[in-house]
Symmetry: C2
Subunit: 248 residues, 2 copies
Amino acid sequence: MIKECLNTMNIPIYIHVAECIKEKINKGILKPGDLIPSENELSKEYETSRMTIRKSLSLMANEGYIFPVHGKGNYVTKPDQTKYILYFDELNCIESHIDKRKLLGVNVMKPTEMVRFHLKIPKEANVVMIRSLMYSHGQPVIYDIKYFPYDKGVPIVEKEINYATFPEMVAKKLSPFSIKKELTIQATKSEGELNELLQLEEGHPLLLIEQKIITDKNRHIGWGQIYLPSEYCKICAESSIDKSKNIF
Amino acid sequence: MIKECLNTMNIPIYIHVAECIKEKINKGILKPGDLIPSENELSKEYETSRMTIRKSLSLMANEGYIFPVHGKGNYVTKPDQTKYILYFDELNCIESHIDKRKLLGVNVMKPTEMVRFHLKIPKEANVVMIRSLMYSHGQPVIYDIKYFPYDKGVPIVEKEINYATFPEMVAKKLSPFSIKKELTIQATKSEGELNELLQLEEGHPLLLIEQKIITDKNRHIGWGQIYLPSEYCKICAESSIDKSKNIF
DNA sequence: TAGTGGTCTAGACCACTAG
DNA sequence: TAGTGGTCTAGACCACTAG
């Protein structure tokens, strides 16, 4: 009877079962740390096969609701209240549209201590430094410096510099699945050269975002700094529990 | 032969198949947008059942490598280069250990315009404001303000205020699965009251992190601001493609 | 030893896609 | 119409857990 009702509505059984159990978790009937009924018990309760129940449980485990323990059962997760998802892309990190990009310079140089530290390269190596300013409505809003190890064989193409994001630029020959990126966000203030470049008064608050790109072989192939005047940029993140659409 | 070899090594077939295909993607043999061989072709190639192949594909889809299209096949994903995972918890966001927490005040008050905007409550409503300072080695390092709608029935327990994170405090009766959190990060500078509280000079760079907590019924049940002197805090995030351990 | 989850099979029927 | 992925079954055998 249950199955017929569901089938006419075209909702797969495994989705229905998962929804039922998730509802119990959301309402607190099943609490973090609790053991949910076993696969065999659930197959009887929902009059379906064990494999279908396993599909429901696998879905819920992927969504972060439960986790299985071999020989014991499936436990309700204690969710990680500290985890967030953040989207960042230096070409789209400010609210207003970037209408101009000015290349300030492309230099091959010996690395400073800090650049050496981040790219993990020897003193003798050369690095490429690319500096650019981005404008919105005639106002400079982003100052961007990128460094990567200098590779004689690879020409630096201006078009790529202007229209590519950092990962695209640095890892153009690598599979996008084989690179890792790290981001750090800190507060700083405008001083020295930054005042002129970004047309700011001394001491103006800035977000400093550093980006690092690392290959699957642990080669550090890019490091960059992005300076953003505080009024143009807020970084947003949200909690990451992957829930079904009907909850939010 | 293949199966026997795998079985003696105790590696499940579905893991092996997924590893093989992921390697082809990481090496660029299969590129974003490409169609991978069909489930039937793969079952022949790896001499296993279609359900086992489906388990491999499901694993890879969850890890973000491929996505299935009904009636067409499984495509290699174009990964989202802008997505990062960030961990944030106001009690553990600075490198050094917080050894003291001083409660500056707990007030029931009429909301300011900004608080009303964030909590989406009417003018007449009351809010609770909790202000505290956190210290590390005798130095104030975090100034924290939290607001939530005042609910007469619920007493405010000092212990909870002192030792709970915001989500724990505000949603103590709710299932942790039924709340959503939002974070915004911006740069600002110390001025007025902040100078004294955090013992900073006027204009010192600060990170301002705002946290909002929303229920599954879209009730805004908490909003907070956290001020952090730049030298004590860097927010870190990293790319989120969920890869198997042997890659990194 | 009884119960749990983990892997795998061979088959069925379905809905969707595209020539 | 042939090929694709989506759902579901009834069964097998295994490794792990805990009394």
